[in-house]
Amino acid sequence: MDNASKLCSLNTAARDSGLTCGMALADARAILPGLGMAAQDSERDEAFLRALGRWAQRFTPSVAVAAMAGSDGTLILDAGGCAHLFGGEARMLVEIGDGLARFGLTARLGLADTRGGAVALARFGGDTRIAPPGETRRMIEPLPVAALGLAAGACADLVQLGLRTIRDLAALPRASVAKRFGVETVRSLDRALGVEADPLAPMAQTAPYAVRVSLPEPIGTTDALAGLLDALLVRLCARLEREGLGAMHLELTVHRADGGSDRTGVGLMRPGRDARIIADLFARKLGDLDAEFGIDSLRLHATKVEPLAAAQIAPKGGTEGEKLDALLARIANRVGFDAVIRLAPAESHIPERSWLRFSAAHSEPGSDGWPAPRAPRPVTIIAPEALTMEVAATRRPPARFVWRRQLFETARVAGPERDAADDEMAVLYARETHNRRAEGAEMWLVDRRHVLVADHESLAVNDDKPHRHNDGSVVAARRKEDRKASR
């Protein structure tokens, strides 16, 4: 409806200068010429709020992230049964506030029997932030109706009718409120007052798959490090096994006595929790860690885990497949996971596009097998290269030509191959390519003039087909001319 830039979030200084959320940017600049701003990035805001939510899980196991009307995010903590651990509700709020202040954040905190009540107190409660048990109604009644988090329109309507506080609204007959201001208004009120249930959908508990060990004395030798790593791996793998998971990537961080730290990581071909195999992968990397001043603590973190069903332990040395996975993991950890490749057929007639490369870590060989090629294909594909003719060759194809400083004589000419193209780019790309054939002494030559970009008319006949074929008549005509000229 309107494309004007608007303010969506303000700091205290801006608010004090008279700016409000939803104000047009141009107006705001007129009021406050020195306004500093940044574009809204709601995804990052949400991610930040989730991160803050994970931090808040130290106070209670059930934390929910709620986006309220208006743009400020809200974290809801279910403090039931947890407050006494921090010395009471008041002390708990102070501790939360202090914790957030250490991040440089200003937070509005409120605590009440209901979620709506707590939010209302946090936003509009002033100094009274805590509603004692059973007194939520009394505490929030004097607050303005905006504290209920109603839609902006509904809020303005209420105020216009003189219903300024929650007490005014609660005093009205519910049926007429619902009729005039919508069911949502009544429900918000009911939730805040605790009449209607308002369950919390807490964030999942995502404890990292990590184990650590701190040492009384710093260590420095790779052997000692390997021993400790083994112990950590046994603990981590036991936990992964309990939860039916396997690690795909692990990271080892070492903290040195001088305060510095270093890290190294290994990846696996398939999710795994065999401590022996993972230790073997790490063994090649431990030597690279900087342990000059001695290491006094280690942290092993499975940064990527995937489900892995329990399986019977294979007899000694593992099955062929496990041996192969272990080998590929060793190689991939040295040369990189992108460099260990399996191939799969692709649907294209263009030779250099007729297969796909997959990292062997994330793929199995396809079940369909490889289709027989439409025409014989080369074993080696070289990038497009130009040929030089010995003399100005009039015959096509030329009787002799030079390629990579070698003179070639044309012994046999196989018929022209009319290739289908996926699209114009493929035509251009493929037709300008000079492919060397599998035999090492046979070449696929393409005359530059025979490179055609299919125009619409020649395609129209085949419009309904997935692969469009050039009918080749233009090429044939040119070849005819060539023959006539050379005669």
Partner: protein, 225 residues
């Protein structure tokens, strides 16, 4: 059966194929044939193909009828040292049947000996595709090239054995059917039929001579570089 009368490449050893250039197609066809028909390929089925990142790519459709591309695992290495390391790991592991190492640099005696020990430990067939490395620990060495075709449907290969540690060199002529990709051995010659190409026996050097002395002896025998 495609493997009939083909070259007999012992498993648990590393063999060399002289590639005349990077990505030499004739050498690659030989390697693919060996991977499919020799060594322990039948047991594990997997061929580990190691090539430098700058090698022209191996087109899997070109192996049709020769080697199932699903049995291929390609490792693209950045440095020759990574390639040698990967080849050694692969040979030693016993998890793959064949390890093919494509390189633009020749092997030295130490490197080829290490590959030899690794393939002995794992029982796999090792193949080195690269420039002629001269004096190495290779079990056999082959020169592969394409011959002019006699008919339109056959690709002819000349597989010449230029070194064999255990016996006479056996050359072969192999025909590959262009349509099916299958390989057929048509001619075998023992003891170096291509006499004009057969290297003369080298000089026998005795005594604890240093490198310079060796070179002098060689020069005396062959009349200058």
């Amino acid at each position: 059966m495609t493997g009939q009368n083909g070259p007999d490449l012992r498993s648990g050893r590393t063999h060399e194929v002289v590639a005349s250039e990077a990505g030499d197609a004739a050498a690659r066809v030989f390697a693919a044939w060996v991977a499919a028909n020799r060594g322990t390929a039948k047991r594990t089925g997997i061929c580990l193909w190691i090539a430098g990142g700058r090698m022209p790519p191996l087109c899997p459709h070109g192996l049709s009828g020769l080697l199932d591309p699903d049995a291929l695992i390609i490792v693209e290495v950045g440095t020759p040292l990574d390639g040698l390391w990967t080849a050694e790991e692969g040979l030693r592991s016993g998890a793959v049947g064949t390890v093919v190492l494509e390189s633009e640099r020749p092997l030295d005696l130490l490197q080829s000996r290490r590959l030899q020990l690794a393939s002995e430990a794992g029982g796999a067939v090792g193949l080195f595709l690269g420039p002629d490395s001269g004096n190495t620990a290779a079990e056999t060495r082959w020169r592969c090239r394409a011959l002019p075709s006699t008919d339109a449907r056959t690709i002819r290969f000349d597989w010449r054995q230029v070194k064999n540690k255990r016996g006479p060199s056996v050359d072969r002529e192999a025909h590959r059917d262009e349509a099916t990709g299958r390989m057929r051995m048509v001619a075998v010659s023992v003891g170096g039929a291509g006499i004009e190409e057969c290297a003369r026996p080298g000089p026998t050097l005795r005594g604890g001579g240093g490198g310079g002395q060796r070179l002098e002896a060689l020069l005396a025998e062959h009349g200058g570089p």
